[in-house]
Amino acid sequence: GESVGLHLPTLSVQEGDNSIINCAYSNSASDYFIWYKQESGKGPQFIIDIRSNMDKRQGQRVTVLLNKTVKHLSLQIAATQPGDSAVYFCAEIAFYKLSFGAGTTVTVRA
């Protein structure tokens, strides 16, 4: 079946550096993508979204890039902070269903 996946299961980053989390998707019919952050013991929290008619969207310290040609999505976090340590999921939407990848665990080193 079609799924959303992530390239790397873990990412270690020095505090203050920029983080890049990658995601590959395979459903070309998906027209909407979301990044979620999940901290230990909590449900996923919405970070930022992007529609398929866009290739870049910026939020506060975060930027999402979408490359539909290679079905690739990335989340960039500027000036990574200890509070950014979490599991990050990309998700795609077809109709009303979110399909999630396995997640990337981000660990911020002090």
Partner: protein, 117 residues
């Protein structure tokens, strides 16, 4: 305002027993979802409710799983004759009509951690 509330937060049960998990969505949210998250994995869609429409049950893994929702309020997920492979975190989420998007993002509860011994 309160977020999505799930209870219990943790549940340990013996294999073969039935369990019932509860979700209180955010008031006014007509869309409600149940997801299952196994350890170290992503979220697996289970079921979707939207208003008074027939629910989408396509993600339920077996007939031991069922869910109900009364109007636009509380939902319960029931697992009958639990098996060890049912051990996971069960997450509930709600959103306003229209589903996903930064204008109506999906709000998740903190989940119920189910352990079947």
């Amino acid at each position: 305002g309160a977020g999505v509330s799930q209870s219990p937060s943790n549940k340990v049960t013996e294999k073969g027993k039935d369990v019932e998990l509860r979700c209180d969505p955010i008031s006014g949210h007509t869309a409600l979802y149940w997801y299952r998250q196994r350890l170290g994995q992503g979220l697996e869609f289970l079921i979707y409710f939207q208003g008074n429409s027939a629910p989408d049950k396509s993600g339920l893994p077996s007939d031991r799983f069922s869910a109900e929702r009364t109007g636009e309020s509380v939902s319960t997920l029931t697992i009958q004759r639990t098996q060890q492979e049912d051990s996971a975190v069960y997450l509930c989420a709600s959103s306003q009509p229209g589903g996903q998007g930064s204008n109506s993002p999906l709000h998740f509860g903190n989940g119920t951690r189910l352990t079947v011994t």
